[in-house]
Subunit: 748 residues, 2 copies
C-alpha cells in the first residue's frame, strides 16, 4: 500500500497515542456519560421500563457469565456456531459494561476484561477468516462488516470499564487489539471502509468510536473523513454487484451521512437497511455529541439523522413492520434493537418528542444509558403521546432530487399504499420503478416480495443472499409494476439503473378522502414513458376505501406489456374463462419469468376483468379495464427453484400485446369479512359495477367507476401540469369538467 | 304419503291442540325459566360478563330494530342475501325475546311479534326453495337443515313472548306458521327428519322445541322417537353420499343421542360437526330438562351429553380451534356460539364444573338465560379454574367399540398429537385410517387438510361442498397415513368403509415423558395389516419433545406404499439429492393423486432421510429410516384444481416399492426458533444423528435414536400383547431387555 503524506503523519500520531494509552477524559463518555450514570443510579428502582430492562439484561448477562467465556477460532458463516458465538459475545460485552456502570458490581467489569484479554491473545496472530466469499473478509467473522459490528459494541464495553482498568491493561488492549482491529477495518480494507454504503457506515462508526475511547484523533479523523488515497479504482464492485467507488464520491462517516440520506431522512437502500445502519449512525453520533460537541453532529445536513428516525418509523405498517422495499427480509420491525437505540437517542437529543415515547412503550425496553433513562422516566411521568402515522412523501437522493417513496394512508392505517419512484438504492436496489404494495392494517393485500434470503439461517445458503435474490427478487416481474417485452427495467443492469431515477409528477395528501400520488419513469425502457397515478379514495357508497391505479404508457414502439398483481390469498371468483394447463411450466426463461409457473390463461369476458380473493378473513376485488386482445394469466412463484428458496405465492398478470400507447386502469377494493367461527360472510362481493377509461390523451386521463347502486364517479388526472393552482377545463362525453389542481374526483 | 294408524291419532291430537293454542304452563320455560328471569332481573348490573353480553346484544338488536323487519322471498344459497337475512332474523329474534324478558321493554316483544306475523303471512303460500340442490329442500332456505335452525331459535323467541301475546295471536301463529313448519320438517321430509345424522338432530330439536312451547305432545313425541313408518327405503343417500337409512336403525332425538355418540362423548362425525350438533342437542335437552324433568335427559346414556361437551373441549388445540377430523373447516373453535351454549348449559346442569368457567371467560360472552347468569355470577365470584387439557383416548361407536381418537399432549400443549383410528364417521368421514396431525401450541406442524369447502361463501360453489372435497379432501393420500398402490382405504367407497373401523392396540398416557398410542387397521386394504404406534417422547438430550412414529405393514402381496407428511412451512435442508422437474405434472390420475403436483423426486442418501423446515419462526426436522430402493417425493397440493379451491400446501412422501412387510420408522422433531426481528436462529439443526429399526418381527418392533451427543435410546413396542402387566424379555444385538407392559423406552 502506498503511504501518502497524510499517512506518514498518521503513523507519527499513532506512535504517540500508543505510548500514552488513553486516560485523559473521564469515562464513560460515549453513550453512557458520568452525568447519565449518576442519574440512572439515583432513579433506579423507580423507573418501571428501565428497571424491567435492567432485570432482563441482568438475567441474560448473568447466565452468560455462568457459562464462561468462549472465543472460538473463527470458522463459520452466519448461522454457524463461531459466528453466532462472537456475535453474542459483543452484544453481551456491551450489556455487561452498562451493568457494571449501573449496578457497580465488579463481576461485570471482570467479565468484560477477561473476555477482552482473551480476544487480545487471539487477535495478534489471527489470519483472515477461512470463508472466502466476501469482497472484504473479516477476521472474527467472514466479512469486515461483522467485525465492524463487533468493534462498535465492544468500544462501548471498553468505555464502560476504561477507568476501572489499569493503565497497563489499557495499553495492552489498545496496542494489541483495538488499534490493529481498527486499522484492519480501515487502511487494510479500504474497499470496505472507504465508500458510501451501510458497510462503510459500520466501518467508520467502529473506527471512530474506538478512536473516541482511546482519544486517538487519527482514528477519529479517519472515521469522519475516510482515507484520502486508498488505491481503490473507480468501477470495482462488491459481492452484491454494488459499485465500491463512483467518480468524485467521498468517504467516511460524514459522507455516508451526506450521500445515502435524502433531506427528508429517507435512506436510499430502503428501510430494512436504514434500520441496520441506524445503529452505527446514532451511537457514533451520540458519542460525537458527547465527546466532540463542536461537530454539532445532530444538526448536520439540517438534522438529517433525526429526520431519518422519523422517516423510518413512518415506513412501517400498522404492526410496526418495515415496508420491504429493495432487499429486505419481511418481519423486521421497529421492535428491533436498532430501533430501540434510534428511538431512545432521538428522544434524548431531538427535543423530547413525546410521540416517540409511545413507540418506546410498544418496544417494551430501553437502552441502559442516558437516552434510555430519559425515555423510561418520561413514560413513567405520563408524557407519552400516540405516534400517528400519516400520508407522506419522502424524497430520495442526497439533494432530494432522485425521485422518492410515497406512503398514502386512509384512516387509522385501514388502507396503506406504498409507492416507489426512487433511485436505484445502491447495490440493494430492485428493478421496480413505479411499483407499489398495499396493506390493510398490518396485512399485505398486494405484496412486495422482499428478498430471497434467510438472514443468519445457515441451512439456507449460509444465511446469505441466495441466487434467487438476483434471478427473482430483484427482477421487475417480481414486483407490482409494468414489464415491457419480458425484460427488466434498465435491462436489469445495475450500472444503468444507478444513473437514473423516476420523477415525481405530484403528491397530494391534503384531502383525507382522496389522496393521490403520481410519478413518471422514462429511462427504464428507452423510448417508453410510463406514468403511474395512484389514488386512495374514500367514497360513501363503498364500505371501505379503495385504490385506483392508472398506469399510462407511451412508447415509440409496439410492445408486450405485463402488469402483475401479487395478491395474497385464495381466489374466490373471476368474471372470465381461462384454461388451466395440465402441466405447469415456467412463464419464461429469463428476467424472473423462469421462476413463475403458469397456472391459467384466459381472456377478458367483457370490458372489465374482475378477480376476487380472500385472505385472513377479508375479501378483496380487483377490477381492471381490459380489451379483447388482452391475456389474463394466473401465475405462481416457485418455478426453477430446486432448493425451495421461494414462497409459493400467487400472481395475477394482465398482459397486453402489440401496444405502444395504452392505459391500465385498475381498482383494488377491500370489502367485507368472513369469520370461520361464526361462518358468516359479510359484504363478500365487489361494490363496483363498471370501471372505464373515458378519456385519454397527452393532457388528461379520466376513469369512471360505476358502483352497484348505479352511482358513478369520475377521476381525472392532468398528465402534464402538476401545479396545484392551474385551472383546468375538459369536456368528456358531453359533460364539461372544471377544476383546479392536477386531479379531480367527483360524483357524476 | 301414507297415513298409518299412529298418524291418524296425531291428526286428532293436532286438531285438539289447534283449538286450544298453548297457554297452560307458565312461559318462558325452555332455556329461560320464570325463576331464571327473576334471578337475572335481580342480579342485573352486578354480573360483569352477563351485563356486558346484554349490552352488546342490546346494541345489536336495537340496530336491527332500527333497520326494520325484512323477510325477503327466499332465493339464494348460503352466502347470498336472502339466506343470510333469514339466518340473521332467527338469531336476532331469539336475542330480542331474551331481551324482552330481561329488560321488560315491550319494544322487543313487538319486534318479535311483528316479524313472526310477517313470516306467518309469507309461510302459508311459500313453495319449496327455488334452489334444487338439496335432497331435502327447505322453504326459507335451500335445505331443511337451515329451516330447522330457524325453528330451533324462533321457538325460543316465541317462548319468550308467549304469555305477552293474545290467545288469538298465538292461535294464528301456531296454526299458520309453527305447526305447518314443524310438519314440513318432519312428516313431509322424513328422508331428512327420520335418520341418524346431525341434520336430523336439528330437525328433531326444531320440532320438539316448538312442540314444548305449544304443549303439542304429538310434536314432542315425534321429535323424541321419530316417525314410525316413513316410507324411506334402506340404502337411499343424501347430497354427501351418506346413507339415509341403515337396516334396523331408529330415528328421533333419542336415537341421535344414542347412535353417533360413543360412551366417552365422542361424536362419530368429528368435532366440527359435533360443535354444530351440540346446539340443538343442548338447547332441546335443557328445554326437556325444564319442561319434562321426568325424562332425565342429562342422565341419558350415562350422561353422554355432558361428556360430549368435555370431549369437544378436549378436541381443540391450544388456541381452542377444533382438530379438523373428517369434513371440517379450519378455524372453528370453542369461541363459536354453539360452544357458548354448550359450556354454559353444561355448567348449569352438569354440577357446576369450575373448569368450564375459564373457558367461558375466554369466550367473553354468556347466554342470556338461566345458564348464562349462573356462569357469569360464578365467574364474578372468582370460582373459575383453568381448563387443563390432558392426553385422552376417546372411543368411537354407540357402544365404544368402533375404534376411537387419541390425543397425546406434552407439557402445556407444547406438542400435541391427534391420532385417528375411528369408524367411518358417517357421510362426513374421510378415508384416513391411522392418520394423525401434529401441533406445537396452536400451530400445525403436520396438518390434516380439513375439508374443501368455504362455508357460507357464496362465490365458492354456493358455500357448499366443492367437488374437491370428494376427489381430494376425503381421499387417503390427502392425509398423513399410508396409501397402498395409490388407492384409498376401502377403495374410497363409503358403503365398505361404513362397515369397518380400526382397533385400538393400546393407549398409555400415564408416563408424562413417554406417551404412547397404538392401533391396528386390517380392513382398509384386504390382505394387508397396518399397525401404527405413535409416541410423544420427552428426553433431556433434546430441547423439546418429539414424535416417534412406527408404521408397521404386513401384507400377503408386494405393494407400493406411500407415506405422506403434510409439513407446514418452507424447506430448510434435506440430506439427499433430488431432481426437480422442469414442468410440474400431477402425481397420478385418481384417488386424490391427481391433485398433487410432483415438485421433486429423490433417493435416500443413506440409511436415514432427513427433511428440515421452518414455519412461524420455528424449526422442525423429520428423520426417517429409509432404504436404497425408496423414493422420496416432494409434492404440492393444487393440480387439477381449475377453480383454485385448494390451498397450495406442501407434502413430503416416502414411497416404498414392491414391499409386502415393512416398517416405516420416523421421528418428527420440533427444535429452535428464529426471529425476523432479532435475526437470530437458535438451535436450527436436528438433534438426531441416526434413527434405526433394530428389531422387527411379529412380536416386537424396536427403534433406536442416537442423538448428536452420541447418546442412544431405544423404543420397543410389543406388536401382539397390549396388556400393561405382561412381562417381556427380548434380546436385540446382544443386549437383553426386560420390561412389563406393551412398550419400553430406555437410554442404552
Amino acid at each position: 500500500m502506498n503511504a501518502p503524506n497524510r499517512m506518514a503523519v498518521s503513523i507519527l500520531l499513532f506512535g504517540f497515542t500508543l505510548a500514552m494509552a488513553s486516560q485523559a477524559g473521564a469515562h464513560p463518555n460515549l453513550i453512557l456519560t458520568e452525568a447519565g450514570v449518576e442519574r440512572i443510579r439515583a432513579e433506579l428502582g423507580s423507573v418501571p421500563l428501565f428497571d424491567a430492562t435492567v432485570e432482563r439484561i441482568k438475567a441474560e448477562v448473568d447466565a452468560e457469565i455462568e457459562l464462561g467465556v468462549d472465543t472460538p477460532i473463527p470458522r463459520d458463516f452466519s448461522g454457524g456456531y463461531t459466528h453466532e458465538r462472537h456475535k453474542r459475545n459483543f452484544l453481551i460485552l456491551q450489556q455487561a459494561g452498562a451493568l457494571f456502570q449501573i449496578l457497580e458490581d465488579e463481576k461485570y467489569a471482570i467479565y468484560v476484561r477477561d473476555m477482552l484479554f482473551q480476544y487480545e491473545a487471539m487477535y495478534k496472530d489471527l489470519p483472515l477468516h477461512p470463508q472466502e466469499r466476501s469482497y472484504a473478509r473479516g477476521k472474527l467473522f467472514w466479512q469486515c462488516l461483522n467485525d465492524s459490528n463487533w468493534l462498535v459494541y465492544v468500544s462501548q464495553a471498553y468505555d464502560a470499564i476504561h477507568d476501572w482498568l489499569s493503565e497497563e491493561e489499557r495499553l495492552t488492549l489498545e496496542q494489541n487489539l483495538f488499534r490493529p482491529f481498527a486499522d484492519f477495518l480501515s487502511i487494510e480494507n479500504p474497499q470496505f471502509f472507504n465508500r458510501v454504503h451501510n458497510h462503510s457506515t459500520w466501518g467508520s462508526a467502529a473506527v471512530g468510536m474506538i478512536g473516541l475511547v482511546m482519544e486517538d484523533e487519527e482514528l477519529v479523523q479517519r472515521a469522519l473523513y475516510g482515507i484520502r488515497d486508498d488505491g481503490v479504482g473507480v468501477g470495482a464492485t462488491d459481492d452484491d454487484g454494488g459499485f465500491i467507488r463512483v467518480e468524485g464520491q467521498r468517504a467516511g462517516f460524514l459522507a455516508n451521512l451526506e450521500e445515502p440520506f435524502s433531506p427528508d431522512g429517507y435512506y436510499t437502500e430502503g428501510p430494512y437497511y436504514q434500520r441496520y445502519a441506524m445503529y452505527p449512525f446514532l451511537v457514533f453520533a451520540q458519542s460525537l455529541h458527547n465527546v466532540r460537541p463542536d461537530l454539532n453532529i445532530f444538526q448536520y445536513k439540517s438534522g438529517v439523522l433525526l429526520k431519518g428516525v422519523d422517516a423510518l418509523l413512518q415506513l412501517s405498517d400498522a404492526d410496526g413492520e418495515f415496508f420491504p422495499l429493495n432487499d429486505a427480509q419481511k418481519g423486521m420491525s421497529y421492535h428491533s434493537r436498532e430501533l430501540v437505540t434510534a428511538v431512545d437517542i432521538a428522544y434524548l437529543v431531538g427535543g423530547q418528542d413525546p410521540r416517540l415515547l409511545s413507540v418506546a412503550e410498544e418496544q417494551g425496553q430501553v437502552l441502559l444509558d442516558d437516552a434510555g433513562i430519559s425515555v423510561a422516566a418520561a413514560i413513567r411521568d405520563g408524557r407519552a403521546q400516540p405516534f400517528e402515522k400519516s400520508s407522506i412523501n419522502l424524497t430520495d437522493g442526497p439533494d432530494g432530487r432522485q425521485g422518492g417513496v410515497a406512503v398514502l394512508r386512509q384512516g387509522d392505517e385501514d388502507l396503506t399504499l406504498v409507492f416507489k419512484y426512487a433511485g436505484q438504492g445502491l447495490s440493494h436496489g430492485h428493478y421496480d420503478k413505479l411499483s407499489f404494495s398495499l396493506y390493510e392494517k398490518g396485512e399485505e393485500v398486494l405484496q412486495d416480495y422482499g428478498m430471497a434470503r434467510f438472514v443468519n439461517i445457515e441451512q439456507k445458503g449460509g444465511g446469505n443472499y441466495l441466487t434467487e435474490n438476483t434471478t427473482w427478487a430483484k427482477q421487475t416481474i417480481a414486483h407490482n409494476t409494468l414489464v415491457q417485452n419480458e425484460t427488466s427495467h434498465f435491462e436489469g443492469r445495475y450500472e444503468i439503473g444507478s444513473e437514473h431515477h423516476s420523477e415525481l409528477h405530484f403528491f397530494d395528501g391534503s384531502d383525507s378522502n382522496v389522496q393521490v400520488v403520481s410519478a413518471l419513469e422514462t429511462n427504464a425502457y428507452p423510448g417508453t414513458a410510463m406514468k403511474r397515478t395512484m389514488a386512495l379514495i374514500r367514497n360513501g357508497s363503498f364500505e371501505k376505501p379503495f385504490l385506483l391505479d392508472i398506469f399510462k404508457v407511451d412508447s415509440d414502439s409496439a410492445n408486450r406489456y405485463d402488469l402483475p398483481f401479487y395478491f395474497m390469498g385464495q381466489v374466490m371468483r373471476v368474471n372470465f374463462d381461462y384454461d388451466s394447463p395440465s402441466a405447469l411450466r415456467a412463464l419464461g426463461e429469463a428476467n424472473g419469468y423462469e421462476h413463475l409457473h403458469l397456472e391459467g390463461t384466459g381472456s377478458p369476458a367483457g370490458s372489465n376483468t374482475v378477480l376476487s380473493w380472500m385472505e385472513n378473513g377479508k375479501f378483496y376485488t380487483l377490477t381492471s379495464a381490459t380489451g379483447a386482445g388482452d391475456e389474463l394469466l394466473f401465475a405462481r412463484i416457485g418455478a426453477n427453484d430446486p432448493e425451495f428458496n421461494l414462497r409459493r405465492d400467487a400472481a395475477f398478470i394482465i398482459r397486453r400485446n402489440g401496444a405502444a400507447d395504452t392505459v391500465f386502469a385498475t381498482a383494488v377494493e377491500p370489502h367485507g369479512n368472513y369469520s370461520p367461527v361464526s361462518e358468516i360472510a359479510v359484504n363478500a362481493n365487489s361494490g363496483i359495477a363498471e370501471l372505464s377509461v373515458v378519456y385519454d390523451d397527452e393532457r388528461y386521463t379520466a376513469v369512471t367507476i360505476e358502483d352497484i347502486q348505479g352511482q358513478t364517479s369520475i377521476f381525472i388526472v392532468s398528465n402534464v401540469d402538476p401545479s396545484a393552482s392551474t385551472e383546468h377545463e375538459l369536456e368528456i362525453n358531453g359533460t364539461t369538467y372544471e377544476w383546479s389542481g392536477p386531479w379531480r374526483y367527483a360524483e357524476i
